[in-house]
């Protein structure tokens, strides 16, 4: 993910399961996983819905 503020590649350092939203790839978790990314250059924080988890086997995500 690229920082919207400065264009630097951001670091994905956390996931948060949002129980207030559902569907998509993370229905098996009962919510929607959101990724938290931080920019190493300016400290900007961005959140996006996790991608690539649609085909993940149960238990394959970091616990």
């Amino acid at each position: 993910m690229t920082c919207r503020a400065c264009g630097t590649a951001m670091n994905h350092h956390a996931d948060k399961l949002d129980y207030t939203e559902s569907g998509g790839a993370d229905a098996r978790l009962g919510g929607l996983v959101k990724e938290i990314h931080t920019c190493p250059r300016c400290g900007n924080v961005e959140v996006r819905i996790a991608d690539g988890s649609a085909g993940a086997a149960p238990g394959s995500r970091p616990s």
């Binding site: 670091n11 994905h12 350092h13 956390a14 996931d15 948060k16 990724e35 938290i36 931080t38 920019c39 190493p40 250059r41 400290g43 900007n44 924080v45 961005e46 959140v47 995500r61 970091p62």
Partner: protein
């Protein structure tokens, strides 16, 4: 690159009540933070954050407070103990953000009129901090008998607090440095 940037650690005064003794504590803590050249800080008075009580989500946010927390590497909460709990207004303010807190350090200074130094409000805040994504340290500020702790000029009478807050800040700075490095450089396992 991050190592060249000063840490930004605001002090949040967690009560809006008239006559609050916690203000003297917050100003004392702010003064101690300012002694450290590698830290930028400011005082955040929740009395000055005007939030709606009947809105939700992004509409509820105070943009200035959100931007400040986004910039912060750590937070210091100065919190009085009201009926063994934390002020509801502080909780309301904190609940308006989430992503801005994640994997950032927090230190808590409890304030009480009793001799327990706000220990109960600190304990009650810990699960809230965790759910917000903040990382607590294992030093606290415990300000007891606050009604007689400061003189008329706001100077602290018991100088042992200076040494204790210095230790508190040392731990907080360490955690803030580590977490900033992690946020910016260490990815979750299996991700890139």
């Amino acid at each position: 690159m991050s190592e060249s940037r000063p840490l930004f650690i605001p002090v949040i005064l967690g009560t809006a009540r008239k006559g609050r003794f916690s203000e003297a504590v917050a100003r004392f803590v702010l003064e101690q933070v300012r002694k450290r050249a590698t830290i930028e800080t400011t005082l955040v008075d929740i009395r000055e954050i005007r939030l709606s009580i009947d809105d939700a989500g992004e509409a509820l946010k105070d943009q200035g407070f959100s931007a400040l927390v986004m910039r912060a590497d750590a937070l210091i909460l100065v919190v009085p103990e009201y009926n063994h709990g934390y002020p509801g207004l502080l909780k309301h303010v904190l609940d308006t953000n989430l992503k801005e807190y994640i994997h950032k350090a927090v230190g808590i200074c409890g304030v009480s009129a009793s001799g327990f130094g706000g220990a109960r409000v600190i304990q009650n805040l810990l699960p809230v901090m965790r759910e917000l994504g903040l990382v607590t340290i294992f030093w606290d500020g415990n300000f007891s008998n606050v009604q007689s702790l400061f003189d008329a000029n706001g100077a602290i009478k018991d100088v042992s607090y200076i040494g204790r807050i210095d230790k508190f800040l040392a731990e907080l700075v360490w955690m803030a440095e580590v977490l900033r490095h992690g946020r910016e450089n260490v990815s979750l396992e299996g991700t890139s």
